[in-house]
C-alpha cells in the first residue's frame, strides 16, 4: 500500500467536496489501486488545519458545512496556505481557491510554492493556468513533479486525460465544444420555453446555476479561459486569454432562437480552435441532430484527430461531486504510473 499525503488548499464547494469524495472512496481506491489517500492539511483564507497523522476528511467536510471549520482541534488561526504548502510534509497539493484571471492569485503562488517544494499539483482553478501556463509547466518539470488540471476544463468531463492516456498516437487537429454549463442552461431554457434572456438568467440565479454576477459566464470569459487551457495543454500552443476572440450570449433573443429552430438549428455558445488559429468563442448555429447539440447544463467537447477522426465527449461541467471525479482521477493517474 502506497500512502499519499494530501494538502487541500481552498476549502469551498470543490475543496470540501473533494475531501468528502476522498473519504467516501478511500477504501475503493486502496483496494483497486493500492493507494491510500490521506489528507494531512487544509488551507483556508483565514487559517489552516495541520495534522501530520491525518485528518478525518468527512469530519472536516461536515464542519465546513456547519461553518465551524475553525473549531477543528488542529485549526491554526492566521497561518497562511503558502506557509502550510512550504512547511508541510506532503506529496501533493489540491489547489481549489477562487479563479482570478487577472493575477492568477492566490492560486499561482500556491502552485509555485508546491512545485518548488517538490509537491505535485492537481487543480480545478483556471486562473493560474490561463495566465501562466508555460511558467507553471516548466517549474513542475524542473522539479520533477506532476501538474494535472482535468477539473479546470469541463468539470467531470474527461478531455485532457482522454487525450493523454487514450489518444496518445493522435495529432489533435481541432477542438470545439460547449464549455460553460450556465450558458448552455440559459440558451436551452430560452429555446424550449420561448422566454427572454433576463427572465431565464434570474431563474438560473435562483437555482444556483448562475452567479449573482454572471458576467464571467455569459460574456464568454469562462469559455475562453477553458479554450486557452486546451490550446496550451493539448495543441501545444502558447496563447493567453487576450489572444481569444470572444462574444457572449447576452444579445441572444427568443426571436433568434425561434428562427434557428424553424430551420433545424439550436444556438449554443461554442468555443473553437481550428488549425491552430486564434481561439474563438461565439454563439453559433448547431444542427439539432449534431453531437454538440446537448441541452441543460451539460458540457461537450469534440476533438478532430488525424487517426481516430471525430471524438466527442459530454458530461457535467460543474458540481462538487462531479468535479471531484476529475480531481480523483488526476490523483490516481499520478500514482498509478
Amino acid at each position: 500500500m502506497k500512502k499519499v499525503r494530501i494538502l487541500i488548499i481552498g476549502f469551498g464547494v470543490i475543496g470540501s467536496g473533494v475531501a468528502r469524495a476522498i473519504s467516501e472512496k478511500r477504501e475503493f481506491i486502496s483496494d483497486k489501486y493500492g493507494i491510500d489517500f490521506e489528507v494531512v492539511g487544509i488551507g483556508e483564507r483565514d487559517g489552516c488545519i495541520v495534522c501530520p497523522e491525518g485528518i478525518d476528511a468527512m469530519e472536516a467536510y461536515k464542519l465546513k458545512q456547519d461553518g465551524t471549520l475553525n473549531k477543528h482541534p488542529c485549526w491554526k488561526d492566521g497561518v497562511s496556505s503558502i506557509d502550510l504548502i512550504k512547511g508541510a510534509n506532503a506529496d501533493i497539493v489540491i489547489e481549489a481557491t477562487p479563479t482570478n484571471i487577472n493575477s492568477g492569485e492566490p492560486g499561482l503562488s500556491h502552485m509555485m510554492a508546491a512545485f518548488n517544494t517538490k509537491k505535485h499539483v492537481v487543480t480545478s482553478n483556471k486562473g493560474p493556468l490561463t495566465i501562466a501556463f508555460q511558467k507553471l509547466k516548466k517549474t513542475a518539470e524542473k522539479n520533477g513533479v506532476q501538474f494535472r488540471f482535468e477539473a479546470a476544463v469541463g468539470g467531470a468531463m474527461p478531455v485532457l486525460n482522454l487525450v493523454r492516456e487514450t489518444l496518445q498516437a493522435n495529432e489533435i487537429l481541432s477542438i470545439e465544444g460547449i464549455l460553460n454549463g450556465t450558458c448552455n442552461y440559459i440558451l436551452t431554457r430560452m429555446s424550449t420555453e420561448g422566454l427572454p434572456y433576463e427572465h431565464v438568467l434570474s431563474e438560473a440565479q435562483e437555482l444556483g446555476i448562475a452567479e449573482a454576477d454572471p458576467t464571467y459566464d455569459v460574456d464568454g470569459i469562462d469559455t475562453a479561459c477553458k479554450l486557452v487551457i486546451l490550446a496550451n495543454a493539448i495543441l501545444g500552443m502558447n496563447v493567453s486569454y487576450k489572444d481569444a476572440d470572444v462574444t457572449g450570449i447576452t444579445q441572444i433573443s427568443p426571436g433568434a432562437l425561434k428562427l434557428a429552430s424553424d430551420d433545424g438549428y439550436v444556438i449554443k455558445l461554442i468555443g473553437e480552435i481550428k488549425d491552430r488559429n486564434r481561439p474563438r468563442v461565439a454563439p453559433r448555429l448547431v444542427p439539432k441532430d449534431h453531437p454538440l447539440a446537448v441541452g441543460g447544463t451539460l458540457n461537450v467537447i469534440s476533438l478532430r484527430t488525424d487517426l481516430a477522426g471525430e471524438i466527442t465527449v459530454t458530461g457535467k461541467g460543474a458540481g462538487a461531486i462531479e468535479t471531484s471525479s476529475s480531481i480523483l482521477s488526476d490523483l490516481i493517474s499520478i500514482y498509478k504510473a
Binding site: 470545439e176 462574444t247 444579445q251 441572444i252 433573443s253 427568443p254 426571436g255 433568434a256 425561434k258 428562427l259 434557428a260 424553424d262 430551420d263 438549428y265 444556438i267 461554442i270 473553437e272 481550428k274 461565439a282 454563439p283 453559433r284 448555429l285 448547431v286 444542427p287 449534431h290 454538440l292
Partner: protein, 162 residues
C-alpha cells in the same frame, strides 16, 4: 448531366474525358447497364463541378465524340449556409446587406426570414446564402462578417461552415 451511351466498349471514357479536359471535377457517375432505353442506349448520370462558362464548349466536345446528351441540370450555386443576424436589422438597411451579397456574382441571398419583437427590442433575421463553391462561401461569410461589424449586428454562423 444525363447521357445516353452506345453499348460498346470505350463509350464511358469518351464521355468523361472531356470533363476533365475542361478542368471539371467529377462527383459521381451512375452507369445503368440494366436499364437500356428503347433505342438500346445505356443511360448514364454524371454529376460534376466545373466553371459554368466552359459548359458550352464541353457540350460541343461531347457531341463530337458521339455522345447523346439527354438532359442538363445546372446547379450554379452549390454551397448553402444558414446564419442569423441580431440587432437593428431593418434600421441598418437589410436591403443593402442583401444587395452587397448578391452583387458579388458568386453568392446570393436565397432566403430571408425576419422576426420583429416590440419596438426598442432587437430584431433577428435568418439568412440563407448560396455560393458557387466552398471558397466562394468563405468569401461571402467574410463579407457578411464585415457588414455585421460595420452595422453593429451580431452574426451567428453555423458550426458546419467554419
Amino acid at each position: 448531366m444525363n447521357l445516353e451511351l452506345k453499348d460498346m466498349p470505350g463509350q464511358l471514357v469518351l464521355a468523361l474525358q472531356p470533363i476533365s479536359e475542361f478542368g471539371g471535377n467529377i462527383v459521381s457517375v451512375l452507369h445503368q447497364r440494366d436499364k437500356k432505353t428503347p433505342r438500346g442506349l445505356i443511360p448514364v448520370q454524371i454529376t460534376f463541378e466545373m466553371d459554368g462558362k466552359k459548359l458550352e464548349r464541353l457540350i460541343n466536345r461531347m457531341k463530337s465524340n458521339g455522345i447523346t446528351i439527354a438532359q442538363i441540370g445546372e446547379d450554379r450555386l452549390r454551397e448553402k449556409a444558414t446564419m442569423i443576424l441580431i440587432g437593428h436589422i431593418i434600421h441598418s438597411d437589410i436591403r443593402d446587406t442583401i444587395d452587397r451579397i448578391d452583387s458579388t456574382g458568386y453568392a446570393e441571398v436565397k432566403d430571408l426570414a425576419v422576426s420583429m419583437p416590440g419596438v426598442a427590442q432587437h430584431s433577428a433575421a435568418r439568412i440563407v446564402i448560396n455560393a458557387a463553391g466552398k471558397k466562394e462561401m468563405q468569401n461571402a461569410i467574410q463579407l457578411l462578417r464585415d457588414i455585421a461589424r460595420e452595422k453593429e449586428l451580431l452574426l451567428i454562423e453555423s458550426i458546419e461552415e467554419a
